[in-house]
Symmetry: C2
Subunit: 307 residues, 2 copies
């Protein structure tokens, strides 16, 4: 599953160091880790920092579980663009006879999951996805602004510790007219860069594209870049040539407005944008930059994070 | 899916009140809700209270994502006992031709999930499950004690707001010899009761059983009750006759020790027990008892919760 890159030995080396120190806990599946207390302490501290730095946004706080409804997922176009990253949730609705059959398959090492059928939910692909159906209808004149944080799932097993299959993203989401949304995007690109630099990370801004599926996807990616709809803040973690995106800022134009029926106060389709802080990636960048001994971190960093 | 009980009108009434107040956010699937800021504030406060009250346990803090490996899930016997509650995660590994087929099914309203195959992970059924494989091997003489918190999934759609399909559980887990484990269980049954009463909940202790599947399951349930292996702390939420289990305490004897190869210092199989605080249920019990206006809650409750 993993493509071979020049950074691969560096990924393995950092992953081993994280596992040896008990910062991450091995589970047997690449990209799915337990976390030690120290990891969570730093992650929580950055999460709260994102909240503090967004106080002036007067955001409506919403928290969604790590699954969204299949109905909204189907509407979202995710299956068109990123089918390879999705995770559907299946359940067993069988009777006792089918249960006996299931257990016999399990016993024989056969595929027992054929007894499981698709349920009403799908793993959350990005923290902002459950927000859009929630605001269907007509917005107030100034639009709306949300603060969300959620586990997200992307099926891309990798030995790069920064490329987890399941990770937390703290996002601000703006829904309004194009000028609301562009101002929000510009504000958070600058603010995000300042926030990362304030905790000692060597961050820079890049125009980016999503990992769209297939040949059609290549065109979508080129289009996204040409229109500068996606920006990332990247930080060297295991490689300076291939820095890791730790913050991403997407301008969706009226895509979600149209999909979920969100209208501006004047009746035209709403525009949306989001800025997402990848909490696991930022935490890994902090440990890589400052080491595993929090007592030895620069005072300016621990003060900024209120650690 | 929902069995009709006398409490049903009360479930619906409380759910409607929660949705009207924006404490919960409707998603279209029973048992899968977004949460408003006030819900998360109370839930976080109780979560931290569980941490504070366990300080004397000197627990090792671990945090796992809401999925566990399929391999460990298969080992765990969950498929024998609770197949109907499990959620497997499936992903799309197809090529571009299959993707075209998938999208055409989606377009026509057919079942596109047939293109999805079982991945390496399953939704976490209980917060303690990922702990046991992690401690395989020989324990130190005093055993070990863990603090875990995780989203858990149980496929049981219901209009009872306390019966969510996906919810958070903060657990302490004890791994050691039978006397370690029994002392732990007794300590937390008393402490849990005192904690709930200190925040104004009318809690009491009950012997309980898990919702085992099928006819064989009925016998397992009777056996579990006879041996008093499971206790619950219950609180009236929507009904006094059918109070809601908000804390559960399970003594697994040497089940997980045998399954995952966990041995006491003397080489015999380790015993395990866990106490789990159902954070969504406790939060719902608090709102039901004290109302949606935190400013009007009893001072003793807000002080205890450091709200």
């Amino acid at each position: 599953m993993t493509s071979v890159t020049s950074a691969e030995p560096a990924y393995k080396e950092y992953l081993d160091a994280l596992l040896d120190a008990g910062v991450l806990i091995y589970t047997g599946v690449d990209g799915v880790y337990g976390k030690g207390g120290i990891f969570e302490r730093v992650l929580d501290a950055f999460d709260r920092y994102v909240t503090r730095m967004g106080t002036d946004q007067h955001a409506t706080v919403l928290r969604f579980p790590p699954v969204i409804t299949k109905k909204n997922f189907e509407k979202s176009d995710y299956l068109k663009s990123f089918p390879h990253l999705a995770g559907t949730v299946h359940s067993f609705n069988g009777n006792e006879r089918e249960h006996v059959d299931l257990l016999s398959k399990l016993e024989q090492g056969d595929d027992w999951t054929t007894h499981f059928v698709s349920s009403d939910v799908v793993l959350t692909p990005a923290a902002c996805y459950p927000v859009y159906p929630t605001v269907a209808g007509t917005l107030p004149p100034d639009g709306r602004l949300f603060d969300v944080m959620s586990y997200c799932f992307r099926h891309e097993p990798s030995i790069d510790p920064s490329r987890m299959q399941i990770f937390r993203m703290h996002e601000y989401v703006r829904v309004g007219n194009p000028s609301h949304v562009r101002a929000f995007r510009d504000l958070w690109l600058d603010r995000g860069l300042a926030m990362l630099r304030a905790v000692g990370l060597d961050a820079r801004q890049e125009v980016a594209n999503d990992p769209f599926f297939g040949r059609t996807g290549k065109m979508l990616a080129v289009n996204q870049r040409d229109q500068a709809l996606k920006f990332e803040l990247v930080v060297p973690v295991c490689s300076t040539e291939k820095p890791t995106a730790v913050v991403s800022c997407n301008y969706h134009q009226d895509h979600f407005g149209e999909t979920f029926g969100i209208h501006q106060h004047d009746g035209t389709l709403a525009h949306t944008a989001c800025v997402g802080f990848g909490l696991e990636r930022i935490t890994l960048a902090l440990f890589k930059t400052h080491g595993f001994d929090l007592a030895a971190w620069p005072v300016s960093v621990t003060q900024t994070l209120e650690l």
